[in-house]
């Protein structure tokens, strides 16, 4: 029975080679693209799923009340204190990465990255299977213990069993003999917890003691350097525990604790840590959503194609099906027949799509700016999802086609009632319109993203954003004035000045300051620390009062300058001369964009500093940078022979602020092209089909005096309507999504009409050229041929 179905299905595909090919190519491109995206999405969502205890594993986060910031660093003693005082905490470890560990291989010292100093219980918290049948208990209790990953073990002990062997290492500037206590399987890349080797905790405690010149780093509640992981018992409720932790904080940190500890589940570490500093690997849930949406759209376009083409082709079989029905074929057998055909095509596509995806993977990796790896533990997921997706497309279109055809009444089919043809054409046209709509929206969105990017690069930030280089001084560089003076001697340098951080600023420091009229109201004011002449160098204009000046001896310690927003939000009248935070306000500057255009201009106070000058801003004559850099470097080597010379152009810094927008526009452009490619495949097939089925009509029309042009026109007219309709519909949709996207920026462009005009133009050109090929051929039909055989 089934063999018979397959046989007829294959025969049908063979007879309709061209349509089958178009279907297969379009579908495999679409599937390949969505496979790659899904690979990314699956990988991102699979983070930390390898750890079997993930539901009970928590990281302790540390919220600093003063700084209003969360950090993942906690004191060493926290782990043991928590374990002692809370019975529901079964295990607790602290970890810290060890820098600069080197191990000896054939008398050569080789760096080991990602060495982690921790407790033996780490093996009970994370899933770290041992190589061989070795126990994973008490491996790190010995201070000289070392546990290696499989890769490291194979590197240092090729073709040997490393366990029990000694290895010479170099750490904290000293040589040590370590004993290999175990070898663990490499940690898969989709774990945020990564290590290539484990050491005893003591190494890091000693290191910290030494650098702070103390002896109690392991009991000091203020030395926040370790990440604390805990394993809760299965029946415990983390919410209850969280409540009890407050009493714990008071007990150890004093009556008004300045740190608040909270528990973060391992599953949330990758995607729920946007606000956590020093969190390690982080994912971006918005990106995942965006990519998922794109994948769905592409699959949708491909599925539509599939439906359009299979219904179109099967119309040619309506008559056959009608005749079969009159011969008593049961409806179900017809349905199964059509279903099998469409599933067969989709399954045929699967290997092609997989190969295409494999080829495209490295390019996509560059584009997404992440490594797209095939992670072995995810392979089951990939296979399952890919297979489901493929079958889904096959089944969905098969069900639609079969339902449509078997619903037809025999008489309608045999008489070829045109009404049914018209309503079906409407259905098909609406699918095409949706495809074109998706494409138009993609195109318009890309253009909007691009114009916002250009806008961000070119908008006047209120300071000079061209022809400035920033030379990094590093911390505590005493000789900066001498360097600045030597730089200024170059005729190509217009002006140079020191600052803590150049513009645009990446970091922000803020303090809360009371409003001048209303004491109770606090305003968040950001700070900026600069040297003399910095405002002038950056072209920031002082609109009231004066700039910092060497003539006034007190400026370095007692003066400050506000920006307009600060004056306004703090409600200061006549600010110049007023006192604020023990300094005198000596001037007001015009508002400028401190950070990227994503944020508003904050209230700002500018102070002077000589201790924290870490960058020099140098404004130069346009076009002289290539001569200037060697000069700057030479002077640098004189001024600071022990420090590396590093600089950045202000243009590059500004560009880097918007690199994610640039990337996004590339990605959306690419997928716009994909949808276009796929839907033009569909359109190509469909017009070909329509042209064929209209052969007779065209023949008749020609006999009665229709010209080729009229026939081409009749083809284009219907498509013009679809293109028009799609591009009109794309306007509100694009505007809706893009206004939301633009809301990410405090300063953004307006969406202009030409964006949609271009989208329309592109679609029109592609659609028309696709249609033109067939309609031109159709217009050349020889009526004698077309009408000879009935």
């Amino acid at each position: 029975m089934f063999r018979n179905y397959f046989k007829t299905a294959f025969r049908f595909l063979k007879q309709n080679k061209l349509f089958a090919a178009i279907n297969v190519i379009g579908l495999s491109i679409a599937l390949a693209a969505s496979f790659i995206i899904l690979l990314f999405v699956i990988n991102e969502l699979s983070y930390n799923q390898v750890h079997k205890n993930k539901k009970q594993v928590y990281r302790v986060l540390n919220y600093y009340v003063d700084f209003k910031g969360t950090n993942s660093y906690t004191p060493y003693i926290l782990a043991s204190a928590l374990k002692e005082e809370f019975p529901q905490i079964k295990k607790a470890v602290r970890c810290r990465n060890v820098n600069g560990l080197k191990l000896k291989l054939n008398n050569e010292l080789i760096n080991v990255w990602n060495a982690v100093a921790t407790n033996s219980e780490i093996f009970d918290i994370f899933t770290l299977p041992m190589v061989g049948n070795q126990s994973n208990q008490k491996l790190l209790d010995d201070p000289n213990a070392i546990v290696l990953s499989r890769d490291e073990a194979e590197k240092f002990f090729p073709q040997q069993n490393a366990v029990g062997k000694e290895i010479t290492g170099y750490l904290n500037n000293q040589e040590h003999i370590f004993i290999v206590k175990g070898v663990f399987e490499n940690i898969p890349p989709n774990s945020t917890f990564q290590a290539q080797c484990f050491l005893n905790n003591q190494w890091k405690v000693d290191d910290i003691n030494k650098s702070f010149n103390i002896t109690n780093a392991d009991v000091d509640w203020d030395k926040d350097f370790w990440i604390t992981w805990v394993l809760l018992s299965e029946d415990s409720n983390p919410k209850d525990l969280q409540k009890q932790i407050h009493a714990f904080e008071i007990k150890h940190l004093g009556e008004k604790p300045l740190k608040i500890y909270s528990l973060q589940n391992l599953s949330d570490v990758y995607l729920g840590s946007e606000q956590v500093m020093n969190s390690g690997m982080k994912g971006n849930i918005n990106n995942i959503r965006l990519f998922l949406a794109i994948a769905i759209l592409i699959v949708l376009v491909a599925a539509f194609n599939f439906i359009i083409l299979s219904t179109a082709v099967s119309t040619g079989r309506a008559k056959e099906i009608g005749i079969r029905k009159t011969n008593g074929a049961p409806i179900n057998s017809l349905r199964i027949q059509l279903l099998i055909e469409s599933v067969l095509i989709s399954v045929m596509v699967l290997p092609i799509a997989l190969i295409l995806a494999k080829i495209g993977l490295p390019y996509a990796g560059q584009l997404f700016q992440t490594k797209l790896e095939i992670i072995p533990s995810n392979i089951v997921f990939y296979c399952l999802i890919y297979l489901c997706l493929t079958l889904f497309i096959g089944l969905a279109s098969g069900i639609y086609t079969s339902a449509y055809l078997s619903r037809l009444k025999v008489m309608d089919v045999l008489r070829n009632t045109p009404m049914s043809g018209k309503s079906k054409q409407f259905f098909r046209s609406s699918l095409i319109v949706i495809q074109l709509l998706i494409f138009c929206s993609f195109v318009a969105s890309t253009l909007i993203i691009r114009s916002q990017y250009q806008y961000a690069l070119n908008k006047d930030p209120g300071y000079i954003n061209k022809n400035i280089v920033l030379v990094d001084l590093g911390r505590d560089f005493k000789g900066y004035s001498a360097y600045i003076n030597s730089v200024k001697s170059n005729p190509n340098v217009i002006m140079a000045a020191g600052t803590m951080e150049g513009l645009p600023m990446m970091s922000s420091m803020a303090s809360m300051i009371s409003n001048f009229q209303d004491n109770t109201q606090k305003v968040k004011v950001e700070g900026m620390a600069i040297d003399f002449n910095f405002l002038k160098t950056m072209g920031i204009s002082v609109i009231q009062g004066r700039d910092f000046s060497e003539e006034f001896g007190s400026d370095m310690t007692n003066s400050m300058i506000l920006n307009e927003s600060a004056v306004k939000q703090l409600s200061i009248t006549d600010p110049v001369g007023k006192k604020m935070e023990s300094s005198v306000i000596i001037g007001v500057v015009k508002d400028f964009n401190l950070h990227s255009l994503h944020t508003d201009i904050p209230p700002l106070m500018i102070n002077m500093t000589d201790r924290y000058i870490e960058q020099v801003a140098i404004r130069y004559q346009p076009g002289t940078l290539s001569q200037l850099i060697p000069f700057l470097e030479k002077e640098w080597e004189k001024a600071a022979p022990d420090r590396p010379f590093s600089y950045s152009r202000i243009e590059d810094i500004i560009e880097s602020l918007y690199s994610s927008e640039k990337n996004l526009s590339t990605i959306v452009t690419l997928f716009a092209l994909f949808t276009l490619l796929i839907s033009s495949f569909g359109l190509f097939g469909l017009t070909l089909f329509i042209a064929r089925s209209r052969t007779k009509e065209i023949g008749i029309k020609k006999v009665f005096g229709s010209t080729g042009k009229t026939i081409i026109y009749s083809f284009l007219k219907g498509n013009l309507l679809m293109v028009l309709f799609a591009s009109l519909l794309s306007v509100p949709i694009t505007i809706y999504f893009m206004t939301r996207w633009l809301d990410n920026f405090s300063y953004h462009t307006t969406i202009s009409w030409w964006v949609f005009a271009i989208a329309f133009g592109v679609v029109a050109v592609v659609v028309f050229s696709t249609v033109l090929i067939h309609s031109f051929r159709a217009s050349r039909i020889n009526p004698v041929e077309a009408l000879r055989y009935e």
């Binding site: 045109p418 008749i700 029309k701 010209t707 009526p783 009935e790």
Partner: protein
Amino acid sequence: MIHLSNIDKYYDSKFQRTFVLKAVNLEVKEGEFVSIMGPSGSGKSTLLNIIGLLDAPSAGEYSLYEKSALDLKEKDRVAYHRNFMSFIFQAYHLIEEMTVYENIETPLIYKGVKSRDRQAMVAELLDRFNMVAKKDLFPQQLSGGQQQLVGIARAIIGKPKLLLADEPTGNLQSVQGEMIMETLQELNREGMTIIQVTHNELFAQYGKRVIRLEDGIVRGDISTKNNQPAMVK
């Protein structure tokens, strides 16, 4: 009006040349009603297609009103189809996606007739063929004879000088066939030149002249009893 001299039509296959028409000479005057007869495959349709400018002869001369009708430009051929000649097919060849009304209207659109004039002209023909009630139906909803009437209406609505009919009654019962023939005869009386292909001896007699084709060669050219001076005005 039509002058064919020494028309050959052949198809070359790998090893041989098959003649469909051979040295056909034919003169058709304005106002004539010619029936072409012959066994299947004798080249009747081919001859008609050549006259109708749908097909080109392999050799020979063909002129319309003393002007060569060979190697016409696409533009001129379209002009002949629009204004001079018209076709009726055995298989009706109506456009299935169009109603009766729209089918009949088609040639007028190509001629560039204004919409209001078209309405009047179609209405007049529908009335003449007693098809007013059927004007919004699709071809499939009509009987064979009715479909062929629509085909005729479409063919004559542009008032062509020459009507070419390839077995117009082939798919019809004899009663319907006679009705069609009478219609053609009437059109001929009004001055239209008609060339029809038919298998039916009786229907051939509706014409004024019968041409017999065999294996692409004209074997006979006889006037019928219809061709009496009394019948021609």
